[in-house]
């Protein structure tokens, strides 16, 4: 089964990937954080290492994931994302943490 997920990137990563704020991604199989980021990095290889560690797949400390008004940053990477994200109704948002600078 293929799902179309809408991902919102922060400005720094939009500039890097030379893409718009909202990126549509085709996901085969279960829609998880890991599957979404895998698809994102496949489409935009320059983003590898910028959102999560390239080896461990752990989220970078100052990156957060939000969807459906929930902070999903600390959810297991293989856990299913909310249905509204999986069907494209709600955005999966990658956000730079508010940490000064």
């Amino acid at each position: 089964m293929t799902s179309t997920v809408r991902v919102l990137l922060p400005a720094h990563l939009r500039l890097l990937a030379k893409c718009g704020g909202e990126v549509p991604l085709e996901i085969e199989g279960p829609v998880t954080q890991c599957a979404v980021l895998d698809a994102l990095e496949t489409q935009f290889p320059m983003l590898v290492g910028t959102i999560r560690d390239r080896e461990t797949k752990r989220r970078r400390a100052f990156v957060r994931f939000f969807a459906c008004e929930e902070d999903l940053s600390n959810e297991p990477i293989a856990a299913p994302l909310p249905d509204k994200v999986a069907c494209g109704e709600e955005l999966f948002m990658v956000i730079g943490a508010l940490a000064g600078g």
Partner: protein, 372 residues
């Protein structure tokens, strides 16, 4: 007509400054990579249109950007800096073992002969090399694997490899410097390394002030025509070596402060050296609020203050280790950037200074290309 291109890395982006050979009027292009820390930008001596930039934020990590048109456009290349083999530990600030962790690239040094070969000095300290224009990076493990690695300790700015010097007369010779481990030299193209810190003294910092490793070297400079002569700005002390680093002597005693970060050598006068004395340990701004470059025309010991055009009151900026350079024109141009966002240049070896640009973000690095 020659042109000059100054490559400026700042806390919030990169800027490219260009001028003709008079070096009086400057065009400012940027910011490139707005909002990102640009630790270093440097061009290939073989192909001056080939530039490399180290791009970083705490949020999104490390990237390396490459330009093949002199900085007009950029493309990200590989950002995988994976330590090779067993990672091991170095000392943490409290003296306990701490695992090596990659944080950022401090310094990029393109090869003197191959446009696709480039070196990267990283934090935690290690040396990487790419032979495909930055598309892949491989660690030169002999440095970190040197037996002293477990005793290296970070300075206040992190445990960074910030200086890479390639010997133009001997492709096998590479010199690097690490805060706070010291200086190291390879005579076999980076396979094996030895510490070259004899003569450095770090009282109140190290249990043994004459230790073989552990010294906080801030920067080393070499004149390409005389590669055995090195000049070093250490945390404290300005040092000189006449035997490629095997032995060092103090040549900075008469400076108002022998603390500082950058050091460089005049492009046509191998005995003419530049430093920017800074008050320390805690202030990190110029003594007396006067921004003064000091020049020695005798290879050290005798220094003169260069002040013409530089602020001589109420100036409390710093000049970081990668933020000074010289061009190859005649007369030699000297450039430096400050944490206050000014980039100063002198078209006459330091006698007169003008601000090339005044209000950039804090300047992390300044490099210059002399273009024909």
């Amino acid at each position: 007509m020659s042109q000059v291109r100054v490559l400026v890395g700042t806390r919030k982006g990169a800027f490219v400054l260009t001028s003709d050979a008079k070096r009086e009027k400057w065009h400012v292009d940027g910011p490139h990579f707005a909002g990102w820390e640009i630790f270093h930008v440097k061009g290939s001596p073989v192909n001056p249109e080939r530039l490399y930039a180290s791009q970083h934020t705490e949020w999104f990590g490390q990237l390396i950007q490459r330009s093949d048109d002199g900085g007009k456009t950029w493309e990200p290349v590989d950002n995988k800096f994976a330590y090779d083999g067993t990672t091991g530990t170095h000392l943490w600030y409290d003296g306990t073992p701490h695992p090596w962790e990659f944080k950022r690239v401090w310094h990029i040094e393109p090869s003197l002969s191959e446009p696709d070969t480039v070196y990267a000095g990283v934090e935690d300290a290690a040396l990487f090399r790419s032979t495909d224009g930055g598309k892949s990076w491989h660690e030169l493990t002999g440095l970190r694997g040197h037996g002293s690695g477990k005793y290296w300790q970070p300075g206040a700015g992190g445990m960074c490899l910030h200086t890479i010097i390639l010997d133009p007369t001997n492709p096998q010779r590479i010199i690097v410097a690490i805060s706070a481990a010291g200086a190291f030299r390879s005579d076999d193209g980076g396979k094996s390394w030895k510490p070259i810190n004899n003569g450095l003294k770090s009282p109140y910092v190290l249990p043994d002030p004459d230790a073989a490793v552990g010294h906080c070297v801030h920067r080393i400079a070499m004149h390409p025509a005389r590669p055995n002569v090195l000049f070093m700005q250490k945390h404290w002390d300005v040092m000189r070596s006449d035997d490629a680093g095997d032995n060092w002597v103090d040549v900075g005693e008469s400076l108002p402060s022998d603390f500082g970060f950058p050091i460089d050598v005049h492009s046509h006068e191998p005995e003419t050296v530049y430093v920017v004395p800074i008050k320390s340990d805690s202030e990190h701004y110029p003594p007396d609020g006067k921004l003064r470059v000091y020049r020695s025309r005798t290879g050290g010991n005798d220094w003169e203050a260069l002040t013409n055009g530089l602020p001589q009151k109420n100036c409390y900026v710093n000049v970081l280790r990668n933020a000074m350079c010289v061009d190859k024109l005649d007369p030699c141009g000297v450039y430096f950037g400050t944490t206050g966002g000014q980039v100063y240049g002198s078209p006459d070896g330091g006698d007169h200074w003008i601000p090339l640009v005044r209000d950039l973000p804090a300047v992390l690095s300044v490099e210059v290309q002399s273009l024909s």
